[in-house]
Symmetry: C2
Subunit: 252 residues, 2 copies
DNA sequence: GCAAAAGTGTTGTTTTTACACCCATGT
DNA sequence: ACATGGGTGTAAAAACAACACTTTTGC
């Protein structure tokens, strides 16, 4: 989880000259968030180019793969302390055929040899996470791309095989929703049962009954009931909860 | 699933000279089988070296990652038509520190420059499978290594981080036992319920009740009941079954 | 008191588990 | 006939789903 700002390459030209990456390997982060009941995913949109991609990057020679995912996410989005989980590796030989980099560089009139390493074949390792949408509103300014939320059900045109990667990432999140939500930065420290239920409903795209949901969740035995939340509304105040053993999850 | 024998590099020296691999990437196959109620895993034991490794190898530049796993498994073990499933990618920067190749080459007096590509850092993609132990008894002859079954609970000294990879592979198999067994070449075309139960019991290391197991499995609705099996024993003949939609699973 | 939203209880159904019984087969 | 192992049935228990009722809160 170490973030080293000195390694944060903001400048594309500088990045392209860097040779101390593990060749042919990349990482891509699929970050899901919510807004008004809609599930969204964080993408980079290239300026002047009708093409989006996942926030991804390369692995330094002396860096663990997982650390690279954490760093890359930080560099592109300024998100830190995100629980990232590896879900799948994508290695079809043609997966980078729709090469956004080449198009992008041409449009920026940046001269790069045709056999430059960034145009080589890449095998990418997919990481994903769920985060609290509202905590993130400022993204790094960048001459090349902007970072924005897009609806999962209405994706823009994607570079490479990134649409497939998002699909697989969503499937992974749905399969692992219990662990994922506990370990994610999705909910505040203290939250109500209704908030938790809403998250489940949006992620799984499925409605639950209030009381049965509560029973099921409490049966997992990972929630601790706290004080009531008085928000001034004219109704019974709901209890607040927190994840009892969140520390355990965060270790992995 | 295409096996190209012309690419089958038997000779280590020849292999080392080959440069048309994707650099820094490898695949490793964790193949599980059974014998007398014990779960085993297929390993390569280097001659004259007290060190084992998973059957693994590299990816050709023009080859899909998954195809590489299939090919590599064939080259090292002569197993074909194996249902391989990707489960995890291992990329810690120190994972190849216990470098068997270097030790091996030195012991064989093969001269290789210290900065040879095989000594570089590798990120490996793990694939695993369950197979019918008894179908495999002849493995390729090789001057460098031999292919043998080892008990999962009593592993020999392993090269690199291969012990960790086996552990994660076993966890994956246990989580995905239903799909895995249906798609694997573990059982013959036709099998009895008891045979299937034995497989589950060994993989999950857990006993089940005969009748309840049958109910649970039949509820999955993926078995087709066939004729009875008369094996000459003095008891009621059990039905044979086959996987009804095995074709579907084999597609993925 | 009333509406709104949360907590809790209750009942019926489905699924899981444990036990029992019956059936087919070769000797 | 009988021992052996397989198929099937059933009752108890647990888990789940649907519905109803009660409680708390601010106006």
């Amino acid at each position: 989880m170490k973030i080293d700002d000195s390694k944060n390459k903001q400048n594309l030209q500088e990045l392209l000259d860097t040779r101390d990456f593990v060749q042919h390997i990349s990482v891509d982060c699929v970050i899901f968030g919510f807004h008004k009941g809609i599930m969204k995913v964080l993408l980079l949109k290239y300026h002047d180019l009708d093409l989006c991609s996942l926030p991804g990057g390369f692995v330094f020679n002396d860096e663990d793969l997982h650390d690279a995912a954490v760093r890359v996410l930080y560099e592109r989005t300024h998100l830190s302390n995100i629980f990232l989980e590896q879900f799948q590796t994508f290695g079809d030989r043609n997966r980078t055929e729709n090469n956004a980099h080449r198009v992008l560089l041409a449009s920026k009139h940046i001269e790069v040899p045709k056999d430059h390493w960034t145009f080589q074949r890449f095998i990418t390792v997919g990481y994903c996470s769920l985060i609290d949408f509202s905590l993130v509103d400022t993204f790094p300014n960048n001459m090349i791309e902007e970072c924005k939320w897009f609806e999962v059900n209405n994706l823009p045109k994607m570079a490479f095989d990134h649409e497939e990667i998002i699909k697989k990432g969503l499937e992974f999140i749905r399969r692992n929703i219990d662990t994922q939500i506990v370990a994610s930065s999705l909910l505040p420290e203290k939250f109500t049962m209704k908030e938790l239920q809403t998250v489940y409903e949006i992620v799984l795209d499925e409605k639950f009954r209030r009381n049965n949901f509560q029973r099921k969740i409490l049966a997992l035995n990972s929630l601790e009931r706290l004080e009531k939340l008085f928000d001034g509304s004219a109704n019974k105040a709901p209890y607040l909860y927190k994840f009892a053993d969140k520390k355990l999850y965060e270790l992995l």
